[in-house]
């Protein structure tokens, strides 16, 4: 008899415990001090990954026959602002990529100038934070080539991308550090799968920063700024999704 009571009590305690744990997690995430501990995982994981791996390691590159038959779009599929629509209409002839911030030679490059630069082609995997993956071919100059041409100052630590698409009224923005910016697979892609980048995938130019998740691959890039700190950008976390809903800035996982 007492055995049954104990068993029932244990079962109840166990079920309540698991339930309390599930709802307790939400309490933890909403308590600032505990939220800080929860968010420390990003720093630990970034540090561990970078300690355990070679920072120059290359993302896997695939054969043409391994490409996704259809590469879906995500995020903004068309910025649909009057300015952007006008640029699409005249095939981005008036578009200029601004490279500024902590540089000694600010640049304003036309699409033709960008297309004339030495380019890299890579067939890589795009991993969305939601879990899907697609393999496509990307083609464009190394970001590092532009940064060298602009003569980035030694005080710069990050590169910020400002885009033509709007999220709640503000331009989409993302940032990466200078090591990733100068990585040999980090390119400004103006072509995809053998044709000019289309509107759905970020025309005229999108970032490919392999080894990080999809939301880092900024589309519709208008401006690139070298900065010393992310503190003055948006709310200070380095990207639209980072600021808006607390995605990790380090998107290596």
């Amino acid at each position: 008899m007492s055995g049954i009571i104990t068993r029932r009590a244990l079962l109840t305690t166990g079920a309540l415990g698991a339930g309390a744990l599930l709802s307790g997690c939400d309490q933890v995430a909403n308590t600032p001090a505990l939220r800080k501990i929860l968010f420390s995982g990003e720093t630990i994981n970034e540090g561990l990954q970078r300690a355990l791996s070679n920072r120059g390691s290359l993302a896997k590159e695939y054969r043409p026959d391994q490409m996704s038959p259809f590469f879906r779009t995500n995020g903004t599929r068309n910025p649909n602002t009057p300015d952007y629509t006008a640029m699409v209409a005249d095939k981005f002839s008036q578009w200029r990529l601004q490279v500024g911030g902590l540089v000694n030679r600010p640049l304003a490059l036309s699409l033709a100038q960008l297309q004339a630069m030495p380019a890299r082609s890579q067939i890589t995997r795009h991993d969305c934070v939601e879990g899907w993956s697609a393999i496509g071919q990307w083609h464009g100059p190394l970001l590092g080539t532009l940064l060298k041409a602009a003569d980035v100052r030694t005080t710069a630590r990050y590169v910020v991308f400002t885009c033509a698409d709007l999220f709640s009224g503000q331009h989409y923005y993302e940032s990466i550090d200078l090591i990733d910016a100068f990585h040999p697979q980090t390119i400004l892609a103006w072509a995809m799968n053998g044709h000019l980048l289309d509107v759905g995938h970020g025309a005229p130019v999108r970032l490919r920063v392999e080894r990080q998740l999809g939301y880092k691959q900024a589309k519709y890039i208008m401006q690139i700024d070298a900065v010393a700190s992310l503190a003055g950008i948006g709310k200070g976390k380095g990207g639209y999704w980072e600021d808006a809903i607390d995605y990790d800035w380090y998107a290596g996982i």
Binding site: L10, G19, Q49, V129, G131
Partner: protein, 255 residues
Amino acid sequence: MTDAPQPTPGQPASPTAVPASTSIYRHRLATRVWHWVNAVTIVIMIGSGLTILNAHPHLYWGEYGANSDHSWFNPPHMPSYLTIPAGYNLAIARRWHLLFALVFGFGLLAFMVASLLNRHFQKDLRIRLKELAPSHLWFDLKEHLAFRFHDPKHPAAFNIFQKLSYALTIFGLIPAMIVSGLALSPAMTAAWPWLLAVVGGRASARSVHFIAASGLVVFIIVHLVLVILAGAWPEVKSMLTGWWRVPEDRAEEAA
């Protein structure tokens, strides 16, 4: 080890039946700490993992997989009473999942090192060939169906089904979770390309992660049911204190 002066688990001195109510030191400190840390961690990992699954509830095989590709399984939407957080928030779910993944992974590593040093693996989990003989497996199955889980002569020793399920979990399912989890990280697969080779691509890694997690859920359910059948309180107490009281033989009790 801190447990050194205490008797060795799983090796009762007596060759004859150990009388009921005898207390036996059964679970070493490392086992107990790992057990309870995991009990919390696994709830967090499964809860946050289900939120992440809800973000894209389609599973594929191969290097890539997105909506227009062939999925082998489309899991149902996971209800809010099972997910962390309760309301859909992928960013927060990832924060939980990726922080506690460290506890889960390094916890296994620490447990494995400790269990080699304190000889828990060698003494308690070592599977002997004769235990795998069909006659022995059949005998043990019948004992299970009769709710007799302990060899009266060696009540602290694991039976063969316990050994197999613990070994499968410790050396199979949890390592599979860790490897397939790492294979989902684009930074880790660039650094360690063998991760993708082992699981057969990133979309496969997600499927392996899901299948191994389902295996862990099955293990947990069977584990909890058997703990209850074997005598819930003495079992829980032994996992807290290390000391386990040999239960009355239920069959004899009934007779």
